[in-house]
């Protein structure tokens, strides 16, 4: 169905879902707080409605309300109607009955992909069981058939070795793999309305393209309506028929995708679109450059900052490398059965070597599940390495005693890919942000005569403000935030102690572009001021282009290409790198690539049988400081 046809269908066909004046409130410290105000929109069968908006503007809460799941999270629908036409052709108002009464409708009629796949999978059940359960519930298959169907779904979302994955548990999966499992689960319900809340944040662009394609296919097949929440305007341009823009709890604009992109009305929309990072924006530039900033203040958009953004010439190349990783290898044993006999190994990281210089940003990009997070976790000592050395500031971290280890952590900070899970649910975020300072006896510089506690409090407030939150948010608990807000809390925490190196694992993935620009600029400014270094793990090539001095491309646990940003972006050498560049969606609805074929066939996998060691080819120089591994791995596209 083409966009035009869909739009037409939306006019003529009765709406599948129509939301009228929806308001949702949570109980806050001082009584109820409305986080969604009077939101109305509708979705027709087969139509894709994208909801975009500022981080914390109520997108997730709105979508949770549609399934009345918000009731279980402590929220309440305080106004409005949600009219939904079920499979049986009956229309009912989902806003009024008790939440329990809607059980039959969930999954069957409406299915949902949650924003945070990390915490949304049940840790005690295997992936296979969790998908098969949905299949059994909604497709009426028996256990065996359901398992087969689960396998098929996993194949469709391009997960390597799906048969093995069926028996694994969520904690053994990478972020992107979990996200794909969530998608597989939701799709296997075969709902008439799919709500996908940031379903591709943890996916690299190649897989993202596959997923979008898959959703589109199913949509065409079954006339499924889709609500697609995302901050990636490229994805919006790619998939949406209509766009709803939210800002501070309200809908501020709605329209067909072309209209929104070509003629945005609301200042926030305008700002949003102008802040979209475009791949290739820095073509010809050697050094990273900050984003032009937009400030949307009370519905009035200001133009970009008058001065052109400064270039980021911060690398102190002459100094000894800050972080040096040599031949790092990390493997996981795959065990099976109650007695856990060793069946295979996941070669998550294989002989990875790189260095990060003071004041440098090294971006680590690569396919989902290729071992980026594992590399970061191993550097942090959260995962023990199978072999290899890690030097920080010239010191081999393996030789440090526990005291030295703790000290080291004042200098290196790690931003977890999974912000929600990495915040202690029993602590206010204020305390979480203050904790590094308390632990390291770090005394923030402040006005004289201020007690240390007070100084720390002020510093927390300052950090919160810097990441675009409010000081009073310090008193809240992690679950009271939106996905993007939590991510910013984690960033604030990482900045608290003025570290020397920050390993940021998809640290800005859940942020809308305006906040993202603000945060990225903040990071770059700190780099300029304090000489910070970053190991920047990301899928978003446009952001990578903006921030990094050098780029390392990982594939199946190995680094396949490593070089200056400009060299890698402008003349990618490794086939995988090239593919990556090509798959980046473009934020322009008129340049859709809908005819992309679904990939099938074998997916290379890092899981190998015991004793079957992968071949590791040395990186060979292909240019100034630019290396590439020339071997079959990753070449077979």
């Amino acid at each position: 169905m083409s966009a035009v046809a869909a739009a037409k269908a939306a006019d003529t066909a009765p709406a599948l879902l129509s939301v009228e004046g929806l308001s949702v409130a949570f109980d806050g410290e001082h009584g109820p707080v409305r986080v969604v105000e009077d939101v109305s929109f509708s979705v027709a069968p087969g139509e894709t409605v994208a909801i975009v908006g500022e981080s914390g503007s109520g997108k997730s809460v709105t979508s949770l309300s549609l399934m009345r799941l918000v009731d279980y999270a402590g929220g309440r629908i305080v106004g409005g109607r949600i009219r939904f036409k079920g499979r049986d052709g009956r229309e009912r108002d989902l806003a009024s009955p008790p939440a329990e009464a809607l059980t039959d409708m969930r999954g069957n009629d409406i299915a949902m992909v949650f924003q945070e796949p990390m915490t949304s999978l049940n840790p005690v059940f295997t992936i296979g069981d969790q998908i098969a359960e949905a299949v059994m519930l909604h497709q009426g298959l028996d256990r065996k058939a359901a398992r087969a169907e689960a396998l098929r779904m996993l194949e469709k979302v391009r997960i390597p070795e799906p048969a093995r994955l069926l028996d694994r548990h969520p904690h053994q999966l990478s972020g992107g793999m979990r996200q794909r499992v969530m998608i597989a689960m939701a799709l296997s319900c075969r709902p008439s309305l799919l709500i996908a809340d940031e379903p591709t944040t943890a996916l690299d662009v190649t897989i993202q393209a596959q997923i979008l394609r898959l959703i589109r296919l199913l949509q065409d097949e079954m006339g499924m309506g889709v609500i697609f929440i995302t901050h990636d305007m490229g994805v919006v341009a790619e998939v949406a028929d209509r766009v709803v823009v939210m800002w501070r709890g309200r809908k501020v604009e709605e329209g067909p995708v072309e209209r929104i992109f070509q003629a945005p009305q609301h200042p926030y929309t305008k700002a949003l679109l102008s802040a979209v990072p475009k791949l290739g924006a820095l073509r010809g530039q050697d050094l990273p450059v900050r984003f032009p900033l937009l400030v949307v203040d009370d519905a009035k958009a200001d133009a970009a900052l008058p001065a052109p953004p400064p270039v980021q010439d911060t690398v102190r190349a002459a100094d000894a490398p800050l972080l040096e990783v040599r031949d790092l290898t990390t493997r996981f044993d795959v065990r099976k059965g109650i007695f856990g006999s060793l069946k295979a190994r996941v070669h998550a990281v294989e002989k990875v070597s790189f260095a990060v210089r003071p004041g440098e940003t090294l971006a680590l990009v690569g396919e989902s599940g290729c071992g980026k997070s594992t590399t970061g976790r191993t550097i942090m000592g959260l995962q023990s390495a199978t072999s290899g050395t890690i030097r920080f500031d010239g010191l081999d971290t393996a030789t440090l005693d526990s005291n030295g280890q703790a000290k080291l952590k004042e200098k290196i900070q790690y931003i977890f890919q999974d912000p929600f899970a990495s915040l202690n649910p029993r602590m206010t975020v204020g305390f979480s942000i203050a904790e590094p300072m308390l632990v390291h006896d770090y005394v923030p510089t402040s006005k004289p005569g201020v007690s240390r506690r007070r100084a720390i409090e002020e510093r927390v407030a300052e950090l919160l403000t810097q990441v675009g939150l409010k000081p009073e948010h310090a008193r809240r608990y992690p679950h009271e935030f939106s996905g993007g807000q939590r991510q910013r809390v984690c960033i604030a925490r990482a900045l608290a102690c003025d570290p020397k190196l920050i390993i940021a694992d998809e640290a800005v993935a859940a942020l809308d572009v305006s906040i993202q620009a603000q945060i990225v600029n903040l990071l770059m400014e700190l780099q300029a001021r304090r000489g910070l270094s970053y190991l920047f793990i990301s899928h978003d090539m446009a952001v990578v282009e903006r921030v990094s001095h050098r780029v390392a491309v990982m594939y199946l646990g190995q680094i396949v290409e490593l070089g200056p940003r400009r060299a890698v972006f402008e003349s990618p050498q490794h086939p995988y790198t090239r593919r990556l560049m090509a798959a980046v969606p473009i934020a322009d609805p008129s340049r859709r690539t809908r005819d992309l074929r679904l990939l099938t066939g074998e997916i290379p996998s890092p899981i190998r049988n015991v004793g079957d060691e992968p071949a590791v080819q040395p990186l060979v120089p292909v240019g100034d400081d630019h290396f590439v591994a020339r071997h079959a791995v990753g070449g077979d596209f």
Binding site: D27, N424, F431, H440, E457, A461, T465, E472
Partner: protein, 294 residues
């Protein structure tokens, strides 16, 4: 907006201090728990004020009025010596409450610490602590108590120790179990990545997660401890006659069950209400510690 001026950073008083106040704010709103807390407070006060408010001397006997049912002057009747049961309950609250509460707290603290270390460290420390706990669990209470009397001699504080020792292994196992799971949490890794040392990690990040079950067990264990203390007083370890102690009063009245039920009924009721109050209070504490409840 790249830098922040100080004025915008104004209001964040006790932003990082709030847990305690937050806790109290939430606790106060739980009416059942507050009521239970007030009941316990009242009971404690009554126990403290027993010399003034008890209608009779708890040891005063009256052989002309043995085993009388409740009446105008003996509200809860009299026991086999014609002593006023109500007065004995009031006085007994002193012993029973302190034994119940102190022993559980003591045992709880020790058990929680052991369980936390065992679960967190694993390896041989875990094995050692847990095997010792296994033996302690297997050791029959009476035998242990006799041993304790032999070593420490009789006395109320020794009862507290003895009863505390009984509860250590249970707390240890309980906390260890939860710790095993909690220590894998990503936020624990995150804390570690911040540089939090192990000891603090255990106390600040893992312990709170084990508290819900600990609180439940504490609130239940108090009743058991009151009864256990009574059985110890029968082997000469505990409160010595004629000190009133709820458990002992209850056990003493055992043979009058079919004949003069009030002798067991009132001490039983006192224990029941106390345990109920502690449980409701425990639930309230638990809820107040739960960040997800507003």
């Amino acid at each position: 907006m790249t830098t922040t001026d100080a004025t915008s950073v104004a209001v964040s008083h006790d932003a990082i201090r709030s847990p305690l106040r937050e806790f109290w704010r939430k606790f106060r709103r739980n009416r059942t728990a507050m009521a239970a807390g007030i009941c316990l407070l009242a009971l404690t006060l009554a126990a403290a004020a027993a010399p003034w408010i008890a209608p009779f001397d708890p040891a005063a006997f009256d052989y002309d009025r043995i085993l009388e049912g409740p009446s105008a002057d003996h509200w809860a009747g009299t026991d086999a010596y014609g002593r006023d049961i109500l007065s004995r309950i009031l006085w007994g609250a002193r012993i029973s409450l302190s034994v119940g509460l102190l022993s559980v707290l003591l045992g709880g603290v020790a058990g929680v610490a052991l369980g936390l270390v065992a679960g967190f460290r694993g390896g041989w420390i875990d094995s050692l602590i847990m095997r010792v706990c296994d033996v302690l669990l297997a050791f029959p209470g009476i035998l242990l108590a006799i041993g304790i009397v032999a070593v420490l001699g009789p006395g109320i504080d020794n009862v507290i120790y003895a009863v505390a020792i009984f509860s250590v292994p249970v707390f240890a196992r309980l906390v260890r179990g939860s710790t095993l799971g909690l220590k894998r949490a990503v936020y624990v890794d995150a804390a570690r990545a911040i540089g939090v040392r192990d000891r603090l990690l255990m106390v600040r990040h893992i312990l709170p997660g084990t508290l819900p079950s600990v609180i439940v067990y504490v609130s239940m264990r108090i009743g058991t401890s009151i009864l256990t203390a009574a059985s110890l007083s029968f082997i000469g370890l505990g409160a010595q006659p004629p000190s009133p102690e709820w458990g002992a009063m209850l056990a003493d009245g055992r043979s009058y069950i079919g004949v003069a039920s009030h002798v067991t009924f009132y001490p039983g009721l006192a224990i029941f209400l106390t345990v109920l109050a502690f449980n409701l209070l425990g639930d309230g504490l638990r809820d107040a510690l739960d960040p997800k409840l507003r």
